[in-house]
């Protein structure tokens, strides 16, 4: 009986509660409708793919590198100065590749830092708007040119015309030529990031210094550059990191001879160059060559990661904050 009453009362109860239910069902039929939820979930998955990529990169590199270190001692890998992994009696000292890589990056910086900084200062301090509107995108073109094209340029112009013009007995493949080409490629990175940093310095600082009678050059070097130093340094580190990871230019112009040398006029090999050399051949999974690819790739990944973290740290640590 009570059961029945409850049953028959139920619809009435539902009817009186209708306004509340209606507002809930309105929400239920819109924001939390299955379609909305599914699409929102799918969008989140799209975002997570990038996180998955990072994990996959780290997992793959570490996995194969551990396999590599099961066969080669880490001490030999990190301290050895002979790199002959494809020889009959292979030796796995990665230092020649690291030195080769750093050498290229160093020459690249010798080109891109002065040119990039000079053009950043010119664009931020001197250039009339109309000149700037032409030069800035023109410089950006340098960053958009495919790296094989720079490789071709290094091999058919920089080496034979510029380098052999100075040192006539220089070899066809040398670190200097590739380094210069990588430097040209990274100019826009230094110039545009540094210019952004200079533009971010408050106008009042520049105007104050000019009003005190400083010349534009003095304002640039003693006020603007120190104030923007964190951004400028970050841009240089990022360009360095980019130079370390650069591949095709060094494969084409720097040679394929892993050598523990600091002589810029010798044929060398970089970490990226080695990876390409091995990849061009046939390397079945599980062979020591295959694992070597990942061990070198992991070393490269760690160095560039270190650079990127350093750049972010420099930006935060040395930022000049103005009210």
């Amino acid at each position: 009986m009570a059961d029945k009453a409850a049953k028959s009362a139920a619809p009435i109860g539902a009817a009186t509660a209708r306004p509340v239910m209606a507002s809930r069902s309105l929400r239920g039929s819109t924001e939390n409708r299955p379609v909305e939820r599914i699409v929102r979930g799918a969008l989140a998955v799209c975002g997570l793919i990038s996180v998955a990529t990072t994990f996959a990169i780290i997992a793959v590199l570490i996995g194969e590198t551990l396999g590599f270190f099961a066969e080669v001692s880490p001490v030999e890998f990190f301290t050895g100065t002979v790199w002959t992994p494809t020889f009959q009696n292979p030796q796995f000292g990665v230092l020649p590749l690291v030195v080769g890589t750093l050498q290229i990056a160093l020459f690249a910086m010798l080109v891109s830092v002065p040119i990039g900084l000079a053009s950043a200062i010119y664009l931020a301090m001197y250039a009339p708007p109309r000149v700037r509107a032409v030069i800035k995108p023109a410089l950006e073109i340098l960053a958009g040119i495919p790296t094989v094209v720079y490789g071709y340029f290094a091999l058919t112009f920089i080496t034979p015309v510029v380098i052999k013009g100075i040192w006539s007995d220089a070899p066809v493949f040398n670190a200097l030529s590739a380094g210069i080409a990588v430097g040209i490629m990274t100019v826009p990175m230094v110039s545009s990031l540094s210019e952004d940093a200079l533009q971010a310095v408050p106008r009042s600082l520049r105007d104050g210094a000019l009003a005190l009678g400083a010349t534009k050059f003095e304002v640039s070097t003693r006020v603007m550059v120190p104030a923007a130093l964190s951004g400028i340094m970050a841009s240089i580190i990022l360009a360095f990191s980019r130079a370390i990871g650069e591949t095709m230019i060094v494969v084409i112009a720097a040679g394929a001879t892993p050598k523990f040398t600091f002589n810029p006029l010798e044929s060398i090999q970089t970490m990226t160059g080695f990876i390409v050399q091995i990849s061009l051949g046939d390397t079945p999974r599980g062979t020591i060559e295959y694992k070597t690819l990942f061990a070198v790739g992991f070393t490269l990944f760690l160095i560039t990661l270190l650079m990127n973290v350093l750049s972010a740290w420099v930006t935060r640590r040395f930022r000049e904050v103005y009210e």
Binding site: G47, S119, P146, M248, L293, G297
Partner: protein, 294 residues
């Protein structure tokens, strides 16, 4: 005495101004030298390659003899890779951007994704090649196919597309969203019918520019196993392939001068393709900017 002081400071001022003028000269020369190198690079390539460039060079297969060699398989391979990469990158990249801008808010997940994207942008492209080799070529046993290459390129350009799409979505004024929400649309309906159409020109421009960067990428595809010498055009996603910069690299690495010349001709084709894509992006942006009503 006072006159002497004035004269001394006069001299000093003149010296300071002179230093300033010289410095300006140095800055201008440095800036122009970078542009000069660009001019030499293009001029050098034109001089070497222009005479080899004709219709049969485009339509021919590669050959052991430079005068008969063409770039057709590489051109078709590049188009295959680009079309597939665009098809994968566009939905994923835009989806991630919408999530971060419209639904992620300031949550922890979106912060992790954000930091992650900026870190991914700094990973050398060849490392993506290693990822593609291990995951797509070996683990998923796709082999060195068009599909494996396109998926690798997708992961490579994804951060750039996400960043560009986010900027485009952020540029859509909030009043548009509020008007839509105000008349009862859900957030998803608002995004789909109002935010996305308004942001589309920016998204398309950013995607085209990202893909134009990817066209020149060679290193990741070498690691994935793209061929250096094939005499057929890929017919489907499971075929082996080569791309333009790969073919150019193959010709550059041969010692004969004639092969270097056809490499230059190949570079001209590649640059023309790049220029077309960039031009398309610029025209698209200008067209929509003119017709934009906010």
């Amino acid at each position: 005495m006072r006159a002497a002081v004035v004269r001394a400071s006069d001299r000093q001022l003149r010296r300071r101004k002179l230093v300033g003028t010289i410095a300006l000269g140095v800055f201008i020369v440095a800036t122009l030298s970078a542009l000069g190198v660009l001019a030499i690079l293009v001029g050098d390539t034109l001089r070497d390659g222009a005479s080899w460039l004709d219709w049969s060079f485009i339509k021919d297969l590669p050959s052991r003899r430079p005068e008969r060699a063409g770039i057709w398989p590489a051109l078709v391979g590049t188009v295959w890779i680009m079309v597939l990469t665009a098809a994968f990158t566009f939905p994923i990249g835009v989806g991630a951007a919408i999530y971060l801008e419209e639904f992620g808010g300031t949550g922890r997940l979106s912060r992790i994704i954000e930091i992650n994207i900026s870190n991914l942008a700094g990973v050398p492209s060849i490392v993506y090649g290693l990822l593609g080799l291990a995951v797509f070529v070996e683990l998923a046993s796709m082999g060195p196919s068009v599909l494996a290459g396109a998926l690798t390129m997708t992961l490579l350009v994804l951060p750039v597309v996400i960043i560009a799409s986010r900027e485009a979505i952020r540029a859509v004024p909030d009043s548009l969203r509020q008007a839509s929400l105000g008349i009862g649309a859900t957030r998803l309906q608002t995004v789909w019918s109002h935010v996305l159409p308004a942001a589309m020109p920016g998204i398309l421009t950013g995607t085209i520019l990202a893909l134009s960067r990817a066209i020149g990428e060679t290193a990741p595809l070498i690691v994935v196993g793209a061929a250096t010498y094939i005499t057929f055009t890929p017919e489907g996603p499971t075929d082996r392939f080569t791309v333009l910069p790969m073919q150019i690299f193959d010709w550059i690495s041969r010692p004969q001068a004639d092969f270097h010349a056809i490499a230059a001709a190949g570079i001209l084709v590649l640059l023309a393709l790049l220029l077309t894509m960039n031009l398309a992006a610029i025209l698209l942006r200008n067209y929509f900017r003119k017709n934009q009503n906010w």
